[in-house]
Symmetry: C2
Subunit: 218 residues, 2 copies
Amino acid sequence: MKYEATARTRVKRIPKRGAYDRETIHSVLDEALICQVGFLVAGQPYVIPTGYARVGDDLYIHGSSASRMLRSLADGISVCVTVTLLDGLVLARSAFHHSMNYRSVVILGRAELVTKADEKARALEAFSDHVIPGRWADVRLPTEIEMKATTVLRIPITEASAKIRTGDPVDDDADYAIDVWAGVLPLALSVDAPIGDAKLTPGIGVPAYVAEYTRTKE
Amino acid sequence: MKYEATARTRVKRIPKRGAYDRETIHSVLDEALICQVGFLVAGQPYVIPTGYARVGDDLYIHGSSASRMLRSLADGISVCVTVTLLDGLVLARSAFHHSMNYRSVVILGRAELVTKADEKARALEAFSDHVIPGRWADVRLPTEIEMKATTVLRIPITEASAKIRTGDPVDDDADYAIDVWAGVLPLALSVDAPIGDAKLTPGIGVPAYVAEYTRTKE
């Protein structure tokens, strides 16, 4: 199943890096933690990092009801949501062919304000499950006042593409004779040991979903 | 020394997270590897990830002279460049107070095409030094044809702000009595063992600037 490539989402430079199938696009969206939301206010583009969650073919973002970004987007202006995973530095023999390995997704569309209580509640649970599966069952759930203070927007994923680079550097034929190391320096998001809140009640242990946290899905 | 906060860059939501001093803004720019470039084409905002380098109060981006993004930006349209470092997941006792620790920078301005050969050459070296210090001295430098195939844009950093969250979750007073683990799960960019190119000439060792690579500056 593919999202149809449009003139706006088709990868034109190095087309072999483009991907339009749901599986690839969803896997990038499900691994990353933050997206970059691009929108226009008074002629100026803004790009703001924020959390998100995917539910089927919808992307949800949320935040304070006082947020300028969310209020602007709720008016139905055009939006671009970009997610980027950086996988490595690609060291070629020539400066020119240096590159990075990455997986990125670009979604074009419009945001819609989520008004139904049940969809809003499901989206908030999806944010939690996206960031740290298992957490939702452990915490105090939102009150009615907190729900009102939170704006949730739905961005239907209809026009989207992925762009992916993997593997070795690609040098000019003549450059393979140059006596210099070439290859890939892999990069990833690492998780360090959890740090308990200074006000943590003594005797409360670290839950398994924190201790064993990882972003990469096997 | 500060960048003057404007109505467009002043952090309005949770103002204590805002920073405008050069040292803070430059340190975020110098640690991250990619930026997100936001711009408008035919009424649609786009957000595209790309590499960059900072030289003084200028940010440089570059790419193929055939790139739609660079050709659009070279026309002097408004641009937003955003850089984001994700430092941790913040686990509160209530769903509502979950957050992330992060450092982000937003730069608003216009791009200028770099036309002078010496500035272009310095910018290309700065890209290399930004991504992997030490590499430039080891590789085949750009030919005249490669220089022509590369577009470099300069974005003067004049209107910029940082937004930073650090430290523990902040819960509602009553929630500190809830019997659940709370704290921070630190996240960072990790570097794995370098992978030599399949066509690497036997006997060429991994240089120290690759073997000891790290993004965090002490």
